[in-house]
Symmetry: C2
Subunit: 353 residues, 2 copies
Amino acid sequence: MPLNIVESTHKKAKPESEQIPFGRTFTDHMFVMDYEADKGWHEPRIVPYEPLTLDPASMIFHYGQTVFEGLKAYRADDGRVLLFRPEKNFERLNLSSDRLSIPPIDEQEVMGYLEELVRLEKDWVPAFEGTSLYIRPFIIGTEPSLAVAPSKSYKFMIILSPVGPYFSGGIKPVTINVEDQFTRAVKGGTGMAKTAGNYSSGYQAQAKAAQEGNADVLWLDGVEKRYIEEVGSMNIFFKIDGEVVTPALSGSILKGITRTSILELLKKWEVPVTERRISIAELYEAYEEGKVEEAFGTGTAAVISPVGELNWLGNKMVINDHEIGELSQKLYDTITGIQRGRKEDIHDWTVEI
Amino acid sequence: MPLNIVESTHKKAKPESEQIPFGRTFTDHMFVMDYEADKGWHEPRIVPYEPLTLDPASMIFHYGQTVFEGLKAYRADDGRVLLFRPEKNFERLNLSSDRLSIPPIDEQEVMGYLEELVRLEKDWVPAFEGTSLYIRPFIIGTEPSLAVAPSKSYKFMIILSPVGPYFSGGIKPVTINVEDQFTRAVKGGTGMAKTAGNYSSGYQAQAKAAQEGNADVLWLDGVEKRYIEEVGSMNIFFKIDGEVVTPALSGSILKGITRTSILELLKKWEVPVTERRISIAELYEAYEEGKVEEAFGTGTAAVISPVGELNWLGNKMVINDHEIGELSQKLYDTITGIQRGRKEDIHDWTVEI
């Protein structure tokens, strides 16, 4: 479909240092496309970043029919702008949409619109160390109706936000609470989809963890509160006795793109790696035997977020003396190196804008 | 707080028959109130019904921090306008808000605002048999930020929608699919809260049920897929061998106000009634023994929605020959009679506007 572009006449000031708070500054333009049952997705357009006007009965406000993605554009040292495996985001967006009964988008077409948008906002991709341009595609049900049924109309939007480094002053391993009461997701639910309700449902557990001095939450499975699933809104990896283990996708775990990339890297490096069920009890047993060598969360925001300490029902586990592990560091350097164009992209993971 | 009222100058046409589609027509005014961390809830106002203007980064679009309620204003035969136990809705709204990390409202104060709004829109309460004015209070997180954390600002709104009878042409028992794969909610999740994400997550199961000729879904517990929880977005009751059974509140079941009222009525009538865990297998065993006498969903929309047939893994259960049961009818007549001012309100359940 032909893309219509309306350029903004009032350009905003761009960040002048790496001190950019996460997700609060937005660029001059956004992408919008509408869906109606009889027209399909139509009217793709890039317009000035502006408020949305929606009927208060719009379904997004009542029944939560929405999905989103998160990816980044990186400024390479030579000035190029790179995306990291963006096709995986649109593939996952469609998987999420399927679970939420939202009509699919044409992944290739939308990829083209994203490239146009980032090209137009190229100067918004910051060059300071650790910064990037965060990209948030999302779809919302807009039909003004209180009937509990899929919306007949939707809006697909992409907004862009320059963001600072996830870790200011270098990577710091964090302390995590193993949540034993609240549940993030369960098989048959929406845990594998990137949908709004999965996030606010974790705020109570986050607050509880923070009160006890923890930076985040380790989620266990919703059925037995026994198997490890995710950490905060990241996937989780452990290095135990030389082997890397991450929870197998269970239907309630998000299929992270950083997770997939790490699995591919480890296989290539011939580091033993398994996707399987791992119980919190097994992890603590391995710890007692001195076998837990590293632990880290993975996601687009942090790439690698080392876990320095776990707290589970009063049992403290200190991992690698609160230091970032050797493998964690190597994975971080490799992925951020590829994203920044500092390492050769032998996997063909980046897309230049 | 003083309530500011801005009257609409363009009054819309009101429905002229009982043929009113659910949740698509809205009245001339709505209630709005804002929350900011430093001001608390402030600026309560009744204004013309109009679109909302929100930043595309508003948290409601990304992380689903929202709660809602549903209740009705009824036109009594003598012309009075009655609400049914509205204080229970605001009590539950605050319980839902607590789970979603949303600041509580002052229940009494908001009750006063609702009364003002319904008073202003009194002529919108239809008088046709089976019709009512549906009331939708809801709260949305509005802070424009992509950080995964509770919003610092919120909007509380009440919109009103005249609605037709739930059953056109008399109550018809429906056919229900017992869902064995998708999960509505699990302990530790948000199932007991009235929040958006709980509803759209059921659309896939609804569509599957409809394909196989079922009107709705019976949800089993998320852990063992064994215990009965809810039907569609209603609570469920069974009359088995003279005793009425409804699933006990498990942490993943919504505490329905119709459910509470039915429990109170049955106790008063000295009909044996128990809130307990009941498995789908137990129900089918009772059926084999000819003991399942009635089954019905309960909620604000239908009051009583009889279940005529259940389908579970290929096993069909026909209840009371697809007819509405005697007790179901009596409960329906009693509650709708009180709501319509046709029966004496000995429980003090109605609030006259």
